[in-house]
Symmetry: C2
Subunit: 254 residues, 2 copies
């Protein structure tokens, strides 16, 4: 057992190295061990590092493994995609620490470092759909009841918040996005802009769709998609160079 | 008039170069002109660049100036702190384009590039307070009626969303944060964690305070402060290395 180990929770950004911060690059360079979901590790792992890849679930086990390694003296980077503080590993690492009633990890230094999250990449590629008040909601009901998801979506719509929807769809989550868009449609008009951003910033994989609440096809979303639902004031600009979407900073009407 | 000009809307991140992305560094290196609020430009300006500094208001004028320069062939970086898409210049530039009914800027290429926003820096320095569903709200009523601010805050509290509050206080905005905390206090218990993060990530200027809804002193906030108000499930961990705050990914009870 050594007191020199640490855990640093970092994020690569949602695409290639263009959005990986210098701070995170520095930490990754100093780490002896990388812990995280395999595809994220593949983006950043170097020859001298031990790679501890795991499935994209089991965040709590992964956090405990990282803390164990650090308690033994390793310098561990826990690697998320995006920002580790937004629907990613930072909360899981702190939850593991919180459950450590025996003080196993008492001496482990734990730090968190911000990154660019998927909603920011998606928003930037489209213009500025998050330009006013907004919220970020996960549609996954692995860790919260579905009724909570619907309730939050409805209240967010009533508050005229733009919504960035994480985890909108997967093989085990086929109908949820359609249901959420229907709930929002009970509050907002059908012309309200909706954006599907799949693999934003990842070159040829990227697919951006600008549609409306009335016409959105929720089957277009998959695990790599970030959905942004505007509010009634959100505007779409058709330019020769492409379509832009923004939510004005000012609030019009009531 | 040349067709080679462009406008790229970028953000420096909320502190020093540690959070400035490689993409943004590259754009800043290629720009002939930088447009933005003076202190942000000071972080990044190089000798060969023209510097167009302006007050932190007048975003629309500044956007128009950047587009004019680009229409004359300049390569213009519009520089925000933080993420340009979050309460910053991206929406203003698109709003200017939207108002360009004469097509003055029709040929100007406009791109937006994500960055680390203040709430992410603040959250990371404290742990993971934004670890579950959250919203980002500006308390400025320059561009929306105060009633809209209060209504959004109340609905966000009812939705159990963690709140990142931008522009919580200034000389012209002395009472608003206190009022907002009181509104949230009508929904959440007094023990709900609240974080004041002033100048997060800026070395010795940084001041982090972890308090509660019942005990928060809103006069601690100034223009450089980002306030995060948790939800009832948000947890505070006291460690020898410092205090951490996180919002669990799971939802407990109703």
């Amino acid at each position: 057992m050594s007191g020199d180990g640490w855990v640093a929770v970092v994020g690569t950004g949602p695409a290639g190295p263009q959005w990986l911060t210098p701070e995170t690059a520095d930490i990754l360079g100093r780490a002896t061990d990388l812990v995280g979901y395999g595809p994220y590790l593949d983006r950043v792992v170097a020859d001298h590092q031990r790679r501890h890849a795991s499935d994209n679930r089991q965040e709590l086990d992964r956090a405990g493994h990282a803390l164990d390694l650090a308690a033994e003296g390793a310098r561990v980077a826990v690697v998320s995609g995006g920002d580790p503080g937004v629907f990613a590993m930072a909360a899981a690492v702190l939850e593991a620490l919180d459950r450590d009633t025996e003080g196993r990890w008492r001496d482990v230094s734990v730090t968190v470092h911000p990154g660019v999250s998927a909603m920011q990449a998606a928003a930037a590629r489209l213009g500025a759909p998050l330009g006013a008040d907004f919220c970020a909601l996960s549609l996954s009901d692995n860790l919260k009841p579905w009724a909570v998801v619907e309730r939050r979506v409805r209240l967010a719509a009533e508050a005229d918040l733009v919504m960035a929807l994480y985890n909108p769809a997967s093989r085990s989550r086929p109908w949820q996005l359609g249901r959420v868009l229907a709930v929002i449609g009970e509050v907002h008009p059908p012309a309200t802009p909706v954006v599907f951003a799949t693999a934003a910033g990842r070159g040829e994989q990227e697919r951006l769709t600008v549609t409306t609440l009335g016409e959105a096809d929720s089957s277009q979303a998959d695990m790599r998609t970030l959905v942004i639902v505007g509010m009634p004031g959100t505007r779409v600009l058709e330019r020769e160079q492409g379509t832009l979407v923004y939510t004005p900073r000012y609030y019009e009407g009531a």
